[in-house]
Symmetry: C2
Subunit: 347 residues, 2 copies
Amino acid sequence: MTVEGSASRSRPTMKDVAALSGVSIKTVSRVVNDEPGVSPDLVERVTEAARKLDYQRNLTASSLRRGDGRTQTIGLLLENVANPFSSSLHRAVEDVAREHGVIVFAGSVDEDPSKERALTAAFVARRVDGLIVVPTGSDQSYFAKERDNGTPVVFVDRPPSLLDADWVVTDNIRGADEAVTHLLAHGHRRIGYLGDLSTIRTAIDRHAGYSQALSRAGIAVDPALVRRDLGTSEEAYAAVEDLLRMPDAPTAIFTSQNLITIGALRALRSAGLQRAVGLVGFDALPLVDLIDPGVTLVVQDVVGLGRRAATLLFARAAGDDRPSQHQVLAPALVVGGTGEILGPYAG
Amino acid sequence: MTVEGSASRSRPTMKDVAALSGVSIKTVSRVVNDEPGVSPDLVERVTEAARKLDYQRNLTASSLRRGDGRTQTIGLLLENVANPFSSSLHRAVEDVAREHGVIVFAGSVDEDPSKERALTAAFVARRVDGLIVVPTGSDQSYFAKERDNGTPVVFVDRPPSLLDADWVVTDNIRGADEAVTHLLAHGHRRIGYLGDLSTIRTAIDRHAGYSQALSRAGIAVDPALVRRDLGTSEEAYAAVEDLLRMPDAPTAIFTSQNLITIGALRALRSAGLQRAVGLVGFDALPLVDLIDPGVTLVVQDVVGLGRRAATLLFARAAGDDRPSQHQVLAPALVVGGTGEILGPYAG
DNA sequence: CTGAAAGCGCTTACAG
DNA sequence: CTGAAAGCGCTTACAG
């Protein structure tokens, strides 16, 4: 097999196929697009020429000329394509996109608003048919321009800030409330809270759910037990160490996000307290069944989030012009072990 | 804020900017592309008009006309965007692509050769500047056409079949050999092998490494201890149960892929043998430090695989026409606990 | 320094 | 049933 040679010979075009089959490019276009009303004889000749030249239609040129201008692509902005939550969302979106003959650009924003803007611009420059966004930072108003210019946008996991738009999220307040209520039911009163960056809407809501559950139980929130703005597992680890050193240390902890849960589990383990301190975490954890004791978690319907966001986006792209749609999915508490460790007020 | 209204007003073009600023579209093009030699006065007027209209250049039209025809996009074919190995690879590729101003289409092949072909066609139809592929099935010869037509292709994780092409892989034979040698050194002689689908090249190589380590130690491979073609965690679980029921059961197991390792860990745990049977797995596992006992693993340099594949692809796209490049990265054995459980011949 | 004409690969809107 | 002309939004190749 001869390799390379003239590295970038350019691809055959309809013109080449037309020349080889002795018809006009319009006829080639008809055959390639399966338009009816071409004589069987020409269909045959064109098909054969296309096969011989290994012709592949240039969809990018096609969409430039077509009325609707569809590129059959969408852009997906994730926190980080490599994290499990993001990548599960990605897969769910991909599956719906595939049903529509659409392929997906994905990119990582890393909780950096300037990357969100840059990726959005890059996707729009390639004229994606729509955007699905896990927003970060405190201002998504600039997406209004994209939508007004004909690019629909659906937010997922978190609602946008300063913008009336479509979104699909989990009921974070309720999930956090259920987590804390579960710990209360197992005899805990002093329950620590470990939270993500307070600029993130999900973190705000989960903190609200924590406070709501405590106040319903008639317990005042002790600010000393609340640690927010933890950006990494390591910070969560340190926060747990710190909580455990308190004279009146918490007997249970609610960790409001997966990286935080991981840091907390490591800290409890290294202190030898993994069977002594109650814990409920928000978000699924991989291989949680192999951890001992098993971890009690509030899990989101990630596939549901992704599928619904994508379905809504394609509806918008097809002309759906209802007012902004807001969908809230229920989380589920999955009993694992750490959430059932009994506290001092049990029984 | 008024929402929606005329849903898909189309985007402003250079023509609109030209009209508003009273210049030709050629001048708008010069300003938008930062070409030198435009009077400051016009630069100012065009910039202002573009800002006012919220003009965003259509890169897709631009690339159609440009000489090189670059779309500043690449396509990435993964086993499944949601699995941790794939998504880490994705992130590494994304990071290199970003340095080149290129965005990434990603898609899941699910070990299905027909999906590989369909995704490749979809990417090529959008004229990606190159393809990075984790190949599946037994024939990648059709990629030769794409390369000959000017679309470079780099394979990663597995070499392609029936095609001379660029690839970047881990030294799987060596990794498997090290895993089994490690178990031998800890006193095991009867070592089980659990492997992925035998059509996958990595599975073939890892099995070869297993055999190689045993024969170097003068131990004959017992076919009863070898279980191949395990496609899921569940099948691996069943295979371990089966091995453990043997009268002369293995005292250690080498699991040649992450899903298989997970199934094996679950089976050992449910049999209460997680501290009795030695185990070394291939591929990293999330949260492995929280599992007890810790799992000994042979891990790949996933970021290295992704970065090198992407770097090679961009070199090809820039005209590098050396013969096919083959890069082999060394895996690393990470001691965790299960690999150090002593066998009957220890000490 | 600026712009009119042509063309990238395709589809639209006609005419025959 | 088939094709010549025009145009999608841009850039190239010229001319002034």
